[in-house]
């Protein structure tokens, strides 16, 4: 169980050479070995989606994936959304529409929404609400998260 192996995780374009046990989850490795604490842990059983990151372009629950399974795949986290000081349209939209309160679930929602819209820019409203039901938020009642994602979707389509 406690035997460790060397792996490389590529997070936001940067390689992290780390040594982890096979049981190490991706989220623990991202947060602890790679020091990227913007990705949060909400339930560790794949329900709440707070730990959502993009692996090879797909939103995944990083608490349900082992770090070793993500080796060789491009991982994107909330820290990689902004380009320098220029925020991603999704980040701006969450601020403009008050899509966050305590901010704990926010990185997961941002990555879920960005991942889905990159894959399916013309997603219907109905499907969008379906996708956003993957993650839990306890503060906002979802009203403003939905508004923010719709607004960012329109902006992402324009750019």
């Amino acid at each position: 169980m406690s035997e460790k192996s060397d792996i490389t995780l590529n997070i936001n374009g940067r390689d992290h050479h780390i040594r982890v046990e096979s049981r190490r989850t991706l989220v623990d490795a991202i947060r602890e070995e790679c020091g990227q604490s913007g990705t949060h842990i909400g339930c560790e059983h794949g329900v709440c989606g707070a730990c959502t990151v993009l692996v090879a372009g797909e939103p995944v629950r990083s608490c349900l994936m082992f770090a070793q399974q993500a080796e060789g795949k491009a991982i994107r986290t909330v820290e990689g959304l902004a380009q320098g000081d220029e925020m991603h349209p999704m980040q701006r939209a969450f601020m403009d529409h008050h899509g966050l309160q305590c901010g704990f679930c926010t990185p997961g929602f941002l990555m879920l929404a960005v991942g889905v819209l990159e894959r399916e820019p013309e997603i219907s409203d109905e499907n969008l609400i379906d996708v956003l039901s993957s993650n839990l938020c306890r503060c906002t009642g979802y009203q403003n998260i939905i508004k923010a994602v719709r607004s960012a979707a329109a902006e992402m389509r324009r750019s």
Partner: protein, 778 residues
């Protein structure tokens, strides 16, 4: 700044400016407790049974393990009330001799990593001789029931009684009496961030810094210092970014005491991050209240008397600092809500059981008592054959100040107006037609109303009435313009999502004529913020906002005095705007930056007439105010499955002057969503032995985007004299009204079956059981 502003005006107050909190949180730069590194990681070994005698604890050789035997110097947590037959009971930091709920901490193991600590905890063997467990509050009251604490006979820990002198006479004069039997099952406030703590010992000073997910950092400091035996100056408590609280994080967790003790013992850093299972079974629970109520009406449909029996299952211990009296005593005092009647009789008891202790949860008993009163109104409407809104029209208070049957003084509100607003917005007659057509087609639509009051922003006199040894209420704000001309407000409130850094900055900005971007609100650090009560009870914007205003008024007065020296003008001719003091009718001005410099570095120019520095303190301890609202839910019930679909939700709300409409709306949205969860989904379930069956988020079900419909909001602003900012506070209202509106709508939809759904959550199983028992189902 204009780009960030949705509405413009001459003041910052009233504008939906973007939150100052957000840039860090959307870029992954938020700082939460679990992000901190530590030398030692703690895992708690918890009781696997609800009740029993602790016989032995066996750990692997060499393991770092702490049990009750190691911490005999630590006092138990023993919250106090001086009234209402309260029986003080102690909660040990680690279980000693007996266990009283599944999940109670028995031992703490520590290791160099989280994983190692978890592995170690798995290997600790605990022998417990199981004894009979009490789970249900009503059963705990039966004669011969086992005692959870020997000190509390009959398992009653707190009991409040009210009976107005005229009660019997009024009751005898009743034309009609209606009964309701309402219940809210047990919930978990379920913040997205579970609890976490991190304590680090500083060898140079002997101090410990505890970083933890709390709503009340100063109260945590006081409590832990009392228990451990420390001077308050030797402990610093930090609440960094906190991922939601809703009440669960306002009580003292024994785990935090242990962390402080262990950091001192190891002279190092120790950390604990709770997992979701621990949060669901062993962090504080909420609700689990039962309200039986009878209402007497005269022939005109006017409510004349109410008799109620409230049982609040408070779990195995009492929570610090409020005590477990907080929920049943709120029910006792506030059950009448916004309805006018003079004769009132109520017994409200807090009952001990072998279940996880309760903390207050958003709404504090009002979601349940509002459900009871609204069900009473709906039943009376049926009995008098009038619309639910008409029975409310006949009974809502409309003359202010109004003194309730329990002696609460309601300041001006808009109870009837918000209901009329909601009726107009929803078009009730049109809905009734639609409902009729749908029913003819085998579809069951319903409408439900909840009209309620939300007591907010109350200071120390209101809490003192409950006999609390620790009496919260006031807040103070230390406001400084530093030599660079930037403004720092240090506050005792401890926001965790409410946007207070933004709204307080808006209040301060208007007083001293600067942009909120130049104002930093500092909170959640006992080394940097003044002693205060933290954030709970819809209080922070009212009380900390009031203290901010008072401090800003003093800063404003001082700046004007300084400017009058520096510009050689009369103070009456000076105005503060856009970051400068201006002499009216001239082009003479001096910037706040220049005045700030002068206040520290050029004090001689004021010739001793102005004190050096630029810091002022504002303190505020208000009497309290009442917000009010009418909630309306439109639902469809599938009678074949018992599934409820909330199709529309509408709120007409009066929370006084709204400081930031965007933030205020967000508070209502979030509260309504939690209320819908309370009404339909969320339930912590114990089996009869006290084992918990809902220990994952696949079993305990908070709502998702699917269950929350679009929420339509309408506002009226009553400018009360009871709040100096005119803001009334609205943090809890959403959660208070929504359950009753949803349950009312379900009952309206099912009126043809003659059933009464009075228990929350109204799950498909409960609805189907009621329909089956009606005898009217095919």
């Amino acid at each position: 700044m204009t780009a960030h502003t949705k509405s413009s005006g001459t003041s910052w107050v009233g504008r939906s400016i973007r939150r100052l909190e957000d840039p860090a949180l959307v870029t992954g730069q938020g700082r939460f407790t679990a992000d901190l590194p530590a030398n030692h990681w703690v895992r708690f070994v918890r009781s696997s049974v609800a009740a029993g005698k602790l016989e032995s604890i066996t750990a692997p050789a060499g393991a770092g393990i702490i049990t009750a035997a190691d911490i005999t110097a630590l006092k138990p947590i023993r919250p106090m009330l001086s009234k209402f037959n309260y029986v003080p009971v102690g909660q040990p930091i680690l279980a000693r001799d007996v266990v009283r709920f599944t999940g109670e901490p028995i031992a703490a193991v520590y290791a160099a990593s989280k994983d190692e600590a978890e592995d170690l905890a798995e290997q600790v063997e605990v022998a417990i001789a199981e004894t009979a467990a009490l789970v249900d509050g009503s059963l705990a009251l039966l004669e011969g029931a086992p005692l959870v604490h020997a000190e509390a006979p009959g398992n009653v820990i707190v009991e409040g009684r009210i009976r107005t002198p005229d009660f019997d006479d009024v009751w005898r004069s009743a034309h009609k009496v209606f009964r309701v039997n309402t219940r809210s099952r047990r919930q978990n406030a379920m913040p997205m961030e579970a609890r976490a703590g991190h304590a680090i010992y500083e060898a140079a000073t002997g101090r410990v810094t505890l970083t933890c997910t709390t709503q009340m950092p100063h109260l945590m400091r006081t409590a832990i210092c009392d228990i451990v035996g420390l001077r308050e100056s030797d402990l610093r408590v930090v609440a960094p970014d906190v991922g939601g609280g809703f009440g669960q994080k306002m009580s003292l967790a024994p785990e935090y005491v242990l962390l402080v003790w262990l950091a001192r013992r190891l002279r190092s850093s120790v950390a604990w991050t709770e997992d979701r299972r621990e949060n669901l079974i062993a962090s504080f629970h909420s609700r689990d209240q039962h309200v039986e109520l009878e209402g007497a009406f005269n022939a005109d449909g006017k409510l004349i008397a109410v008799s109620a029996n409230v049982i609040a299952n408070v779990g195995a211990y009492s929570c610090f600092p409020t005590t477990c009296g907080v929920e049943p005593l709120m029910a006792l005092a506030e059950l009448p809500g916004p309805y006018d009647f003079r004769a009132y009789s109520c017994v409200s008891r807090g009952v001990l059981t072998h279940t996880c202790p309760m903390a207050p949860y958003r709404g504090v008993s009002r979601p349940v008592i509002t459900l009871a009163m609204e069900r009473l109104m709906d039943k009376a409407a049926c009995g008098f054959e009038i619309e639910p809104t008409e029975i409310r029209r006949r009974n809502l208070i409309d003359k202010f100040p109004y003194t309730s049957a329990t002696g609460l003084v309601f300041d001006e509100g808009t109870y009837k107006q918000t209901m009329e607003m909601a009726i107009d917005a929803i078009d009730v007659p049109a809905f009734r037609k639609q409902q009729k057509v749908a029913r003819a087609n085998g579809r069951y639509l319903g409408i439900g109303f909840a009209t309620f009051s939300e007591r907010t922003g109350y200071g120390s006199p209101a809490f003192a009435a409950r006999g609390m040894e620790i009496t919260p209420g006031w807040e103070s704000v230390f406001l400084t313009v530093d030599p660079s001309g930037f403004v720092e407000a240090r506050i005792g409130a401890s926001p965790h999502g409410q946007g207070l850094r933004t709204t307080l900055a808006q209040i301060i900005a208007d007083e001293i004529g600067i942009d909120p971007q130049f104002i930093t609100v500092v909170h959640g650090d006992t080394d940097r913020s003044p002693y205060g009560w933290g954030t709970f009870a819809s209080r922070s914007l009212v009380i900390s906002g009031g203290a901010s205003l008072l401090a800003a008024q003093k800063i404003r007065a001082k700046l004007i005095k300084m400017a009058s020296h520096m510009l050689e003008a009369s103070p009456d001719d000076i105005t503060l705007k856009s970051g400068s003091a201006h002499v009216t009718g001239t082009d003479r001005s001096v910037s706040i930056v220049a005045m700030a410099r002068a206040a520290y570095h050029q004090t001689h120019i004021f010739k001793g007439e102005i004190e050096p520095g630029l810091t002022e303190v504002g303190s505020y301890d208000p009497s309290g105010t009442f917000s009010n609202a009418c909630h309306v839910a439109l639902v469809e019930v599938d009678i074949a499955t018992g599934q409820v679909d909330v199709q529309k939700f509408l709120v007409a709300e009066d929370a006084g002057l709204i400081i930031n409409p965007m933030i205020a709306d967000g508070q209502v949205h979030g509260g309504v969503a939690q209320g819908i969860g309370n009404a339909l989904l969320e339930e912590i379930i114990y089996d009869e032995t006290g084992n918990i069956l809902t220990s994952t988020l696949a079993d305990f079900l908070p709502p998702t985007t699917h269950e929350i419909p679009e929420i339509e909001l309408h506002h009226i602003a009553t400018l009360t004299g009871n709040s100096i900012t005119k803001a009334k506070g609205l943090g809890e209202g959403g959660a208070i009204g929504a359950p009753a509106a949803v349950i009312g709508a379900i009952n309206d939809a099912l009126s043809a079956f003659g059933v009464s759904i009075d228990e929350m959550p109204a799950t498909p199983q409960r609805i189907r059981a009621a329909l089956r028992s009606s005898g009217k189902m095919a």
